[in-house]
């Protein structure tokens, strides 16, 4: 399902989460502001088609419920789309380490289901255009390896005021 279509966009955000209502209610408005296309996919194959189709649309962010990915699909995404930012949209009690992604876990930026936190991160990524380069938020990536989920305070500290 395409929420917004624009040919002159800066990038795209793909959502693979069920239910996606809460994400859809918040994201399109501010993504439009940054001229990002927002797309909701029902399964991993749709994500793939979307990524292949938008290859020329430079940066891409995938917001995904990790349980909707397999280790194989995650490995493929990491290998095929090295510039893709994969945000693992976790429930409060959920932990990335509970899922069997093995060494591919490193491809996912874990985040608990807090829209405010996600919004802030995306805004920063959009503003910086940094989605083209995964390595930009260095501190953030270092934290990912030591812990599953960033706290609200850590995101604020790392990204600054939204």
């Amino acid at each position: 399902m395409h929420l917004d279509k624009s040919h002159s966009n800066n990038g795209c955000v793909i959502i693979l989460a069920r239910p996606a209502d809460s994400l859809c209610s918040v994201l399109p408005a501010f993504l439009r502001e940054y001229r990002f296309v927002c797309t909701v996919c029902a399964h991993i194959y749709e994500v793939l088609i979307q990524l292949n189709a938008s290859e020329i649309i430079r940066p891409a962010v995938l917001i995904v419920r990790p349980s909707m990915l397999t280790a194989e699909s995650l490995a493929f995404l990491g290998r095929q789309y090295p510039k893709l930012h994969i945000i693992g949209w976790l429930e409060r009690e959920e932990r990335l380490s509970d899922l069997s992604f093995g060494s591919n876990k490193g491809h996912i930026i874990p985040m608990t289901a807090g829209l405010k936190q996600l919004e802030r991160m995306l805004k920063t990524l959009c503003r910086l255009g940094s989605v083209q380069d995964k390595q930009q938020p260095n501190e953030m990536r270092m934290l990912e390896h030591t812990r599953d989920v960033l706290t609200e305070q850590e995101v604020e500290a790392l990204l600054g005021a939204g």
């Binding site: 029902a42 399964h43 991993i44 194959y45 749709e46 793939l48 088609i49 292949n52 189709a53 397999t70 194989e72 699909s73 493929f76 095929q80």
Partner: protein
């Protein structure tokens, strides 16, 4: 293009076939290039398979998609294809091993052999059917059973599940054949085949081995496919002390149905005229190989005959 591993798929090594090991790579390649045919090894497509095939078709709508399946996966393939309204122009399946020449079929047609690729595929499917199907009853034949049984036993070994084989024949069929003629005998066999099929579950394999001899393989598709539902060796040992109840129940139901059926071809005496005698053998309790199971089931069937016919006996059971 081929999606999945070529190992065990082809009867000879294919040439000129692009191989993509995962469905994700396959979809990506299909989206980028123009393909006339996509061959996908069913086992290489993770669930949900329907979405994977839909995705392939949506990015490459002109391509024919052929699922390459092992014999034991045929039921799953048929169920999957049925969800796409099979038969369809763009989706089909082939049972492995297949000839790589059949897949690539890139060589130009010679003057005296102008068959389109579709014609060839159809002919191949017809031939496969002839090879594996009993043309009188439409059931699977002995050849199919010879291939299927070892395959499904291997899977049962991995998943620690049980397989039960029923062998049976019609009591005194020769008498009816001689009295009423072969045409009537054939019709009796066809009606018997319909009755057996009706008594079985969709996954059970029913075969006519020849003459009036039939075999049924009772197996659990979910057990064989999903190792998560596997029984421990201990559980299997315990349950194999008794034969699985479901096949015993189905075999008995089959016997009752046939003995109560009206065979109109046999005239006024047709109702209740025909009976069956059969033997049931289970893996792993009664045998670990196809040959052992068939032999044990055959012995039980002979015992049923000796005990007065019109009965189905388990291995080692006497009336």
């Amino acid at each position: 293009m081929l999606i999945g591993s070529a190992q065990g798929v082809f009867s000879e090594t294919p040439a000129g076939l692009r191989i993509y090991t995962s469905i994700f790579e396959g979809i990506t390649a299909a989206q980028k290039d123009h393909w006339d045919a996509i061959y996908a090894v069913l086992a290489s497509i993770p669930h949900p398979r329907k979405q994977a095939i839909e995705a392939l078709h949506s990015v490459c709508p002109q391509a024919r998609i052929v699922l390459l399946v092992q014999m034991a996966e045929e039921l799953q393939a048929r169920e999957l294809l049925d969800r796409f309204g099979w038969p369809s122009d763009w989706l089909n399946y082939c049972i492995c091993p297949v000839s790589s020449r059949c897949l690539t079929a890139q060589t130009p047609a010679s003057d005296d052999y102008r068959m389109t690729s579709d014609d060839k595929d159809r002919r191949i499917r017809e031939l496969e059917k002839l090879v594996m199907q009993d043309d009188l009853t439409g059931l699977k034949n002995r050849r199919y059973l010879r291939h299927f049984l070892p395959t499904i036993l291997q899977k049962a070994d991995l998943s620690h599940s049980q397989i039960t084989v029923l062998l049976f024949d019609l009591d005194d069929f020769k008498h009816y054949n001689d009295t009423y003629g072969h045409a009537v005998g054939d019709e009796v066999l066809r009606q018997t085949a319909r009755l057996i099929r009706r008594c079985c579950r969709s996954q059970d394999v029913v075969a006519r081995l020849g003459g009036d001899e039939f075999a049924v393989v009772f197996w659990d598709a979910s057990d064989a496919e999903h190792h998560s539902s596997r029984k421990t060796p201990e559980e299997r040992r315990k349950s194999s002390q008794n034969h699985p109840r479901e096949p015993v129940f189905m075999a008995e139901r089959m016997r009752r149905e046939i003995s109560a059926a009206a065979f109109d071809q046999l005239g006024s005496k047709g109702k209740g005229a025909l009976t069956i005698s059969g033997g049931l053998a289970s893996y792993p309790g009664d045998g670990r190989t196809a040959e052992e199971l068939l032999e044990k089931a055959d012995q039980a069937m002979l015992e049923a005959k000796r005990c007065g016919k019109n009965r189905v006996l388990l291995v080692g059971q006497s009336a």
